[in-house]
Structure formats: C-alpha cells, structure tokens
Symmetry: C2
Subunit: 275 residues, 2 copies
C-alpha cells in the first residue's frame, strides 16, 4: 500500500491531529501518501457531516482507484447510519481495497467482512495520535501500510479472527452488517462502560456468538465508578458468560482504546497488509 | 388478585420504600396482601444477593400457590442472569401467575411471554414510591391488582402489545428470551442514555423488529448532556430508524422511568389484571 485515503464516517477529527499524523508520515515514511478528505473536519451536531456528506466522502475515498486503502479517522458513533448505502453504492475499486479502523467503525469492517468485500483490518486510527504514546500507535499502522507486520496482535493463532469494540459488536449483532463468525477467534475490547453494562453486553454478545472458536478479552479502560462495587472484574465477567454459553474463553488480547492497540486483519488474512 | 409476592431479581430495594408501599396498601387496599420476600433487601455487590440467592427467592414467590401474582421490586440490572434457570426450574403454580415489573425485568417478562408462561405485565414497581408522585404509581398497580383497569396505557388499540426499556430490549434481542413480536405494537422507553446511544439502540432494535405492527416511543428521561449537541431529538431518532427499516412509527406512549408510567399487559391481555 502506498496511497491511503482518510475519511470520517462517524465523528470529526481535529485538524491539529491530522497535521501531527501527516508530520510523522512525511518524516519517517516518505514512500506513503496520506490524503485526509476535508470531510474529516466537518462538525455537524454529533457527526462529521450529515449522513449524505459522510457517505459521499466515504465513496470518494473508496471508489477512487488511485488509493490503495481507506483509513478511518475517528470513531465515536455513526458509521452504522451510512453503512447500508455504502455497500449498496460502492463501485469496483472500493471492492479491492483494504479498510482500517476500530471502535464504531467495527460496523463497517463487519459489514465488509460479511459481504466479502475488500479486506477489513482492526487498527489504530489517526485520532489515536492524541493519546499518550499515540505516535507509536500511528507508526504501527504506517509500518503496516509499508508492508511491515510487526504490529500484528501477538496472540493470533492462525485461526480466522475478528476484533471489535464490545458495544459496537453488540449493536451490530442480528443486523444486516453482522458477519458470520463461526470458527473465529473473536477479540473484544471496551471503554467507558460500567461493569454492569459490560456484563449486560456480554449476555447479549455471547448469545450471538454460539459457534465461534472462542473469545479473547482486550483492554477494558475508563470504567466509570458506580454507586456501589459490581463485585466482579471484567475478566470474571467474560469467563462467566463464556461458561454460561458454552464458549471457550481464550484469555486476554492486545487491543483496546489505548495506544497499545494492535492490528487484527479479519479472517485468515494476517498478511492483508502486504497487499 | 389478592395475594402478591414481591422479590428482586436484579438489585436491592431499601426497606423504607417497602414500608411506604405497605402503608399505602394496608390503608387504602385492605383486601390486598403484599408479601415482600426478605431477599429484596439483600445487598451483595451490584445485586440483591448472588445469582443463586435471587433465583431461589424468585422461585419461592413464583412456585407458592398461595400467591396470585409476582411483583418485581426494582430493576437496575441482573434478572437476565437468572432468567434461564428460572424458566427451567419453575413449577406448575408459577405457570399460572401474572408477573409485574419493567425496566431490567423486561428480560423476565419477555422470556415469560416467549414461552407462553403465565402473564407478563409492564407496570410500575415498589421502587417507584421514591419518585415524585410515586405514591400514585403504586396506587395504579394496587388498583390493577384489585381489578380496576384505569391504569392501562391509554393508547393501546386492541392490537397485541408489549412494552420494554429500549436498552433491555436491545440486549434481549437474539437471545433465548426474546419473544416473537410479529404484529405487535411495541412500546419502548429509556432513561439515562445519551442521544447518540439511543440512536445506536434504535439501529439495533429496529433490525430485530422488522415484522412488528409498529413502534411507540415512551418517555426518554435523564438524557445526559454530551460534549456537543446530537442534532436531533429522541422522537426524530425514533422516526429516522422506523423510516430506515420500513417500520410504522405510531407516536408517543405513556410509559417510562417516571411516576406516570402506565400499565401494559403483554399480548392481547389488556384484562390480565382481572385474573
């Protein structure tokens, strides 16, 4: 991959973060060309432009054959509102690309994977530059674009895999975007949810994942303090629901809403980054 | 209904609220007998006792033929963790009872309705006594127990109906407790969720309700203020997703996490309260 288009199907990116990402790319990865679509910076209520604006920018990036890949700028919420129209209208060039992102963008990655369109890759996003250690997260993706696989999530076994934000996966389950994950190792991570809410999400998600090879738990960060202790930690919760549903709990994973977030190509394509 | 057993399959009730409910019942509804199970008051981390304790109390109430109905004391989260075991172990007496509650208890009501066990009724709960106007919410249920139907949700048309907290319904969808709601008018309400989260829940729930007669929106209260405006109100959100999924939006409903919460017998049983 040489030329990467960046758009924001959910919420807007601040231009200062794009500039920092561009500075790293220009200095350290001169063979890469990053193209931030202006739509990344539009603020319209919650979203980076209304549905039509975000869809149009996504199609601009995906349908243009000069770009090898599409990198999503930021999550936050909203890609599910345009995913159906995107899959319905995309052209041939869009079907050969690799798509990178995580969190809310799991809906687009899941939908792509379900439809067998292009390649879906869980990875850090430009917005992660703002985190402590964020430059390393960005370098991890830029190295991957350059053909270097050292950012790969280290626990991947060779079984087909997929990685999602837990809440995003829960909301996608049963919708037209949910991929078949039979036989997959499914990695989940979460941020900013109460433990009782995480328990409730596991109740739901494990009901929709009865035929997977197993579940791995990524980082669960920024858990708010509730008015009383839940009485169990997040790994206890994951084990509880895996036991209850007869799923294999496969231990921890190095994904999450932190700069340590590693790369997980969906399916058997641990080498998708080389395409 | 004369004799009503009360337990807490999710989180604990403070004894002071039980005492206030009992005082109203004794003074104004002398023909009713309310029995608060001691389990209502157990505090164990998040829950009103661990799973085994809550299940045991629920079975005590449901299986005892001296009780005509089971009234859930309080929601909060947790009835889904014991619902499967409850349905698996309940005896004959439990299958003839009517069950009252809302919010998190929607999982039990939904599971009962799915299995055709007893009767499920969305109604205020003892914990609602603590709200402004809460005594009226309690009286509404006590009148219903006494055979008076004036607490019925006023917009029910005679089509089969069901009422749920939106998040609870979202988490139940696709699980072993989700009832078939084909042809039903489905009433949903929400409390304490951001507008973007409500939008996301509608995305999910409308995908699981494609064959319903339509959706009605109850009260949506205590919406937290986000770092930026969402750009659409809750009714706009409901309409957006109903339009997108080809569902009928049927307007507002008088249910919610307030003392105005009205009574909705599941199915065609608007007279279930008379049994």
């Amino acid at each position: 991959m040489r030329s990467i288009a960046i758009c924001a199907p959910a919420t807007p990116l601040k231009r200062v973060w794009a500039d920092e990402v561009l500075a790293i790319a220009e200095t350290e990865f001169p063979s890469l060309e990053l193209h931030f679509h202006d739509q990344c910076f539009i603020e319209d209520g919650h979203f980076a432009g209304n549905d039509a604006v975000r869809l149009s920018a996504l199609l601009d990036c995906a349908d243009d054959p000069q770009f090898d890949a599409v990198w999503f700028a930021k999550g936050g919420y909203g890609s599910n509102r345009i995913a159906g129209e995107f899959f319905g209208r995309m052209g041939e060039a869009a079907r050969r690309k690799t798509y990178f992102g995580y969190s809310d963008l799991g809906t687009l990655l899941g939908g792509l994977y379900r439809a067998g369109i292009g390649h879906a890759v869980h990875s850090p996003m430009p917005v992660d530059i703002m985190r402590e250690g964020g430059a390393d997260a960005i370098r991890r993706v830029l190295r991957w674009f350059s053909g270097d696989r050292d950012g790969l999530e280290p626990g991947l076994t060779g079984a087909p895999a997929a990685a999602f934000n837990l809440y995003t996966l829960a909301m996608m389950a049963g919708t037209e975007f949910m991929p078949t994950l039979a036989g997959h190792e499914v990695l989940v991570e979460e941020v900013g949810e109460y433990e009782y809410a995480i328990d409730r999400l596991f109740f739901h998600v494990t009901a929709h994942l009865r035929d997977v090879a197993g579940l791995r738990l990524g980082q669960v960060t920024a858990v708010p303090e509730n008015d009383r202790p839940f009485g169990a930690g997040v790994e206890d919760i994951a084990r509880y629901w895996c036991d209850k549903r007869g799923l294999e709990y496969l231990g921890r994973a190095e994904i999450g809403h932190t700069s340590a977030n590693r790369i997980v190509p969906f399916g058997l394509e641990a080498d998708a980054g080389r395409r």
